[in-house]
Symmetry: C2
Subunit: 186 residues, 2 copies
């Protein structure tokens, strides 16, 4: 009797494998061959889900964007200032989950130069993040689009520093500088 | 009669080719084969200068770090506040030269995950930048290591945004937000 396969479950299983590879071995480990080895699938079965390397990279990126976006949206009931801080902190490498996300996010950054779909996904990711933050700032009369753009750039830049030099950027320092920046700008 | 070859001139010629490839086609174009095609050298001759792909990537990265670092050091005679601004602006994509540097810098970011020498070069690049800025801030009593770290993160983050979405980050906006941030922090 053929095994009944739930496509949703298969996709989740694949997402997990792509994620594990990227978080542990860097984005260069995201290849159809390595995902096949990680999941025990044949490369032929994988091609059914991902036609090429770009679709795998895109999948890894969208996984981060979706996870972080969902957490950011979960802070909408907070008062504006606290919501703004929470939205920004979701993108900082403050725990193992977010450290893995930051590794994948910045690991993929340079690969978008020659991959338009990935570049579009990155632009959309930043737009959504700025929109979520702008809403909080405007609701509280704390700032407009310039402040939102500046705060996103600041937090993103700390992510880059922590990505390059994790030991020099422990969570306490990331949070201290975030609060300094918020006090200065909003 | 064998051609007399000046090793320094050869290196400069190679640097130019690696640079051109990375700036125009993204860092994935930096391969021994493409550099050979670009320069008209044999891959065998190239291996004499670059034993592997990592040494080529490192060379591209060091080229950016050296160019930007030299320009930053050129502002040491300015008064502290203007020097600090000038040091930061050297890393923003405000003209074609700096846009190319930003493309190479962030293009290489993710490739360091599995390449320790490149990762060390990136850490050193950020340390030198922070040191140059700290000197200006401390000389003018404008701030300490936290302010320097925050400003570098901010400018670096704007570089990421402009790298992902150049049309949304024209030079006028980059400079306006830089001044807003400087007014707020120092």
């Amino acid at each position: 009797m053929p095994k009944v396969v739930d496509p949703e479950q298969r996709r989740a299983e694949l997402a997990e494998a792509v994620w594990r590879l990227a978080a542990q071995h860097g984005v260069e480990a995201i290849t159809v061959r390595r995902v096949a080895a990680e999941t025990g699938w044949s490369t032929g079965a994988l091609v059914h889900y991902f036609s090429d390397k770009e679709s795998l990279l895109l999948f890894a990126f969208e996984t981060v964007a979706m996870r972080a976006g969902a957490r950011m949206a979960g802070h909408r009931d907070l008062p504006p200032r606290r919501r703004a801080r929470a939205v920004l902190a979701e993108a900082l490498p403050l725990d193992e989950e977010r450290r893995a996300e930051v590794r994948v996010w910045f690991g993929l950054l340079g690969l978008a130069v020659t991959r338009p779909a990935l570049a579009r996904a990155q632009r959309r990711g930043y737009q959504n993040w700025r929109a979520e933050l702008s809403e909080a700032l405007e609701e509280g009369g704390l700032g407009g689009p310039d402040q939102a753009a500046a705060l996103v750039a600041f937090v993103d830049g700390m992510g880059v520093q922590a990505f390059c030099d994790p030991r020099a950027w422990p969570p306490a320092k990331l949070e201290r500088l975030l609060d300094m920046e918020l006090d200065a700008l909003v």
